[in-house]
Amino acid sequence: MKLNSEKILFLEKIDTLKIQELFSYWVEQYPQGGVLAFIAEQSIDAVDNLRTEANKENCTLIGAVFPELIVEGELKKQGVLLLHFKEMPSFCIVPLSNSISELDKETLTITASLDIDMDDDEQALFMIFDSMIPNIASFIDELYLKIGDVVSYMGVNAGSETFQPMNCLFDNNKFIGDAVLIMVIKQHHSAVLEHGYTSPDSSISATSTTGNRISSIDWRPAFDVYKELAYKHYGVKITKDNFYENAVHFPIGIVRMDGEMLVRIPVALDDDGSLYCVGEVPENSVLTLLKAVSPNSSKTIETIVRKIENQTEDTILTFYCAGRRMHLGDASLTELSLLKKRLSHKNIFGALSLGEIGGSKQGGYPLFHNAALINIPWV
């Protein structure tokens, strides 16, 4: 399906000849340009094809593998989405050690590699992390200390929906995992991130956590407290056996005083009753058991549309959390088609993501979320 030959192209099946012609054309027309590619997990073999063709044509290529792609409000299990830049933005792919003590060094490497104009207020950092990185929130805190509000922050996690380790980030020279791909997008304000989850009034304290593992809540094994709350607030009996089917519907929220909260979807359970979430949970955080969005609710999409409809860009890069899709099932397709319907004058494309970075307010402190939609007006 051809969306816009100058800027965006979706190929459901990999046609090497077509890719070669396209890269050749883009390189000839825009020698300083480059390509950002999103690959559906089922088409992961296309990464090698793309890199081979890009290297043959001397075309700068970066990209990531996501569980599925979004094309005009629809989900695609296979295919390749190519986003062309007439002038390739400054970018880097940096392997991360997953160690808190290395964050200072790693973020310094990134700030030294990127071309960030400290006097330009209209630039954004677009980050794609391997979803297996356990300390993304700490990484963003450290990066924010070094760069601050000179840029706005937006990003997503790539990888497999099964959360199995795999290589998911690439450029012309490498195809790796445990890394982050960061681009500096010029003349960009920020993205809009919403999840629409609400919380009951009661809250609890995460008394012992390490990274994305909650060992105890209110001094008791985390899972014991979690299942009591699910029963108390929603009447649902969660056991070790049905944990994996139910946890996605009852995510944990990290409470902020201004009323907003961060969603953390529990994805694994340990024998000692520890819960593993997608994303870090700082020790002593005030937590709550969230009420997930209702399948019939259009509130999240309406909020996004309200914030984005007047922006001038004709295309919106949309990332939809795979955890949210697991919770909503087919209703997630309804949400996406509603988004496309309400923004019918814009192209909607993107991918299913495994964690989202941004904020509901423009220029806010960058935070790591789950279960959210992030919409990025694309230049």
């Binding site: 304290s205 005083m257 201004d258």
Partner: protein, 542 residues
């Protein structure tokens, strides 16, 4: 957010501040938590506030989170208006001019939430839009900021102690890591070592042994732990000696190395080499021993085989020398008879034919006699039975005698001998004079025999480091190829033997080389095809 939740957040923040021991991360973490809960994107911590002039204050910009444009100003002095000191009721300053005055116009901050810590320090949270928050943050955070103030004061006061303590902790951790690491390495080496290692207690009971020991003796570690060595691995014949050795080891009077027979689980007897070390506790008391063991049964067998083979070879060599020696004797006796009677025939011969024939017998006999003498010489040298009488001799005497012997041969072949040695009269060398003469005659006769027609033999000398006399004999013959230069010192190898009529046995240089070496000297040759050869003979000076 209800009252209970607010209390919980404050408790969370109190724990964050309470867990820090250094001022810098304490300030940064608290600032980050304030931003997180208020949804302000950035903020600063200012310290050392003092009044510069009426209504204007100065402060130090101590920490920045998020204010990218201010990063380079960290540590700078800022000027503050009155509002930042005394604040307004909500703590939120919305006066852009007032904010710009502090942070500069280009920063575009429209709201500043001032959170006083004490008289001299403030958190200032900044926003590019005016926030619409429902909670009185200034009031809510007051207890937590009081708590922060106390913690910050403690951190600063105890900074040097904290640093020292941290250094000590780091040092201890390093040592613990090194200990752990070396224990790991030791375990690895022990398990991977190609030799058996065994640990004992003082009662000679096995405490532990590695896989190689299991392989060597056939017992799994569980089978031998706690058992006495004498009961499991010693043949009766070795018990007394080994018990003594163990007592020596425990009393540190010996027993470090031993070679003895041991029994394996399957009843074999193996020969083992033991390296034993007493193990001591921290006060130096022996608490056991560690042994490294090698099964040397095969090595010993192999060594014995080598010894046997050597002895056999020596016996064979002796028999060969004896055979050659007796054969030479047995050959010489009849040969002398042949030579003697052919000379008589030659002398009595009346016709030319008989004279010629007898002459041929004499020449052939002489050649055979020389060959037998040289074979005998060589076999004597090789078997080490040559007796040299090395004494100090005047070189000139030996040399002149040799020249006088060689001169007629040189004249016969019309070869000119250029002798540059004659002036040497007072040089003494440590040689067997007869054997040296034999060597010189051999080398000089070669130089004459293998020379070109009307050629020259130049004899020269030098003294090497006052230790050696070096005599060089240079001919003007055909010269030698590199291959020939190596071969000529081997028995029965003659240069161009197949293409020449020159007589010789091919043993002369091999014998000369051996003799000179036995006298502590050496013979070398330098040669180029077409340019002649130069033989150097070195012998030790007296």
């Amino acid at each position: 957010m209800n009252r209970e939740q607010i209390t919980q957040v404050l408790y969370e923040m109190a724990l964050v501040t309470g867990g820090e021991t250094h001022a810098k991360p304490l300030i940064t973490k608290t600032l980050q938590r304030l931003l997180y809960h208020t949804a302000f994107p950035c903020g600063v911590f200012i310290s050392d506030i003092k009044e510069a002039k009426k209504g204007k204050y100065e402060c130090k910009l101590e920490q920045i989170v998020g204010c990218g444009n201010l990063l380079e100003k960290k540590g700078n002095i800022l000027t503050l208006p009155e509002e930042f000191i005394h604040g307004c009721e909500s703590g939120l300053i919305k006066d852009t001019r007032c904010i710009n005055y502090v942070f500069g116009e280009q920063k575009k901050y429209k709201a500043a939430l001032v959170l006083p810590v004490n008289d001299n320090e403030r958190f200032v949270l900044l926003n590019k839009t005016i926030p619409n928050f429902k909670l009185p943050f200034g009031l809510i955070f007051e207890p937590i900021l009081n708590n922060f103030n106390k913690t910050l004061k403690l951190c600063r006061e105890n900074e040097s102690y904290t640093s020292l303590l941290e250094q000590e902790i780091a040092e201890r951790k390093k040592i613990e890591y090194e200990l752990y690491s070396s224990a790991q390495h030791l375990r690895l080496y022990r398990e991977q070592a190609p030799m058996a290692t065994i640990e004992w207690n003082t009662d000679f009971q096995v405490l532990d042994w590695n896989k190689e020991a299991e392989k060597m003796f056939g017992y799994a570690v569980e089978e031998v732990k706690g058992r006495n060595f004498v009961d499991i691995m010693l043949p009766e014949t070795a018990i007394v000696d080994i018990k003594k050795l163990w007592n020596d080891l425990m009393s540190q009077t010996g027993g470090e190395i031993s070679i003895n027979e041991n029994l394996t689980k399957d009843g074999r007897t193996i020969l083992c080499e033991w390296h034993n070390t007493p193990l001591k506790n921290e006060i130096g008391k022996v608490i056991g021993a560690a042994s490294i063991v090698q099964d040397i049964t095969e090595r010993k067998n192999a060594e014995q085989e080598i010894v046997n083979a050597k002895e056999e070879a020596e016996r064979a060599n002796q028999a060969k020398s004896q055979f050659l020696s007796s054969m030479s004797h047995e050959l010489r006796t009849p040969l002398n008879a042949i030579l003697g009677f052919s000379q008589l025939i030659n002398m009595d011969a009346r016709d030319e034919k008989t004279k010629e024939n007898s002459q041929e017998i004499i020449a052939g006999g002489n050649h055979l006699l020389q060959l037998i003498n040289e074979v005998l010489d060589l076999s004597k040298i090789e078997s080490g039975n040559v007796d040299l009488s090395i004494e100090s001799h005047c070189f000139n005497d030996i040399f002149n005698e040799t020249i006088s012997l060689i001169k007629p041969i040189a004249d016969k072949y019309s070869i000119q001998i250029c002798n540059n040695v004659s002036p040497l009269s007072d040089i003494y060398i440590n040689v067997d004079d007869t054997r040296l003469k034999q060597v010189l005659l051999n080398v000089l006769s070669n130089a004459i025999k293998y020379n070109s027609e009307n050629g020259k033999v130049i004899i020269d000398y030098s003294l090497n480091n006052k230790k050696m006399l070096c005599l060089s004999i240079k001919d003007s013959g055909k010269g030698l190829t590199a291959e020939q230069q190596i071969k000529i010192f081997l028995p029965f190898e003659r240069a161009e033997a197949e293409n020449s009529n020159i007589e010789g046995t091919g043993l002369g240089l091999a014998i000369s080389n051996n003799l000179i070496e036995k006298m502590g000297g050496k013979i070398t040759v330098e040669s180029k095809v077409g340019k002649g050869s130069c033989f150097s003979i070195q012998v030790p000076l007296s």
